[in-house]
Amino acid sequence: MTYAIETHNLAKTYRSGFFLRPVVGLRSLSIHVEQGQIFGFIGPNGAGKTTTIKILMGLQSATGGTATIFGRDHTEAEARRRVGFLPERPYFYEHLTAREMLRFFGQLFDVPKDVRNRKAEELLERVDLKRWGDVPLRKYSKGMLQRVGLCQALIHDPDLLVLDEPMSGLDPVGRALVCDLILEERKKGRTVFFSSHILPDVQALSDEIAIVIKGELKGIGPLDKLVRHSSNYSDIVFSGDIPGEIPNAKPVREEPQGHVVRVAPEHVKDVVTFLYEKGAVVVQISPERVTLEDVFLSELEKSAAVDQKRMGILA
């Protein structure tokens, strides 16, 4: 089966500063995105998400590994014919109106004139910008640019949508619109590959998720697979001071009602008994399911711990 996107040991090292010091942007990234999937790509700032997308879109060259789009080498311009791309913080020609811009991008995909004119109207209608269609883009707000950016990505009915931070800068209505659009495109059988910082959206939309930290792939798969190693837990809120550590409980935060500790389901009874015996008052017990955010934060913590260890060895 041909994957929509496939990378094998994809790597990127930048040269920075006067002495051209090597800086690793991406380290041996191997992922594959099946056709018809919604694939979420998450990671903190500087993790290598945008670098990966730029390499796939031919904007940067890889320093190692390979990447294909529908089986074609990503360096060929023609590999991008079936791809619709929305860059992070999209910038368009300010002298053009939205209609002119959509027609221009339609031309770059050789979309026939009548089809691109019709398609431009449909898309502007879909993102609620039809009455703004003849206004120059320099007068658009950030959210409007993001929406018109989605239109240009869809002007040629692509089989694969690559969206870099599509929810960034959008209000809740705009976010809902983008989420609906992504789901609609999947219904039509299209593949969507998107990066985002908004983890609940990624969790809600994605069939598969990849976590990248410091240029390295830390986890990949459906959410169920990613959380398999992280069990569910309960947060216990109590008031009163307990000297020393509470066995089998991990302090997580302070709240106005009291201290919050995280406890594995099998230890809830023991911890509550312990708190009672020490004179604390248990205010609330909330059983929680592990979320993508928990998995992500846990991976971040692990990565930071490895870094600290490495620094310790070097010192």
């Binding site: 730029k54 879109m57 031919g58 904007l59 940067q60 060259s61 311009a77 023609e78 590999a79 991008r80 014919r81 791809v83 791309f85 860059p87 913080r89 999209p90 910038y91 368009f92 020609y93 300010e94 002298h95 053009l96 002119e100 221009f104 991008f105 031309q107 770059l108 995909f109 050789d110 950016g149 240009q152």
Partner: protein
Amino acid sequence: MKRLLAIALNTFKEAVRDRVLYSILFFAVGMMVISLALQDITIGDQAKIVRSVAQGAIDFFGSLIAMFLGVSLVWKELERRTAYTVLSKPIPRWMFILGKYLGLMLTLVVEVGIMLAVYCLLMTIQQKFPPPVVFVSMAMLLLELMLLTAWATLFSTYSAPTTASFFTLAIFAIGHLADDIWLYGNKAQSEVIRELSHQLYWMLPNLEVFNLRPVAVHELPIPWTQVWSGALYGLGYTAAVLCCAMAVFHNRDLK
């Protein structure tokens, strides 16, 4: 081909919607109109002086527009990140550079065309409709602008507009002094300087080969040998510089 045309027309549209361009054009037309007044305050062949100043204005402002637009041609696209969206389409890098360049040339043809039309109008009112040599001279000016713009495009692929302006201006100045470099080499005592001067002469463009202004001002017969050799030289040199620009841009990472 259609995609190339789309990029070229978009570049043209962007240029003609730029207000700075109208300011330059306004000054150029103003300069030509003012040149008419020279007839009353100069001695000698007054008609020739008027023609010389007016044609000089077309040359100067044409070169100014070429440099002004050329040096930011690619850089602006990278700074404003508009190139990101275009290059993520099935557009090879060479096509992007060539499309941008052709769009700029179309702008220059229209600008020079407008200035020439104003010139013809003024000459018809004051003297007579210009002879064909003036039109050939303008065609040669366009060849010069074509080469100058190619250099500006090359500089624009890897440097900021300020640096690119400096380089392009240097090419413009050296290009008009190329014959002097050759003569300097001939007169030099040192063999090394002579060789260096001659090498520089062959490497750098000679923009004087396109200069038909004295012939046009004096309304002399068209020197066809200079025209054809200049055209071949201009086209060949421009193609070579553009190929360099494409090669530089091909390997460039967009940050």
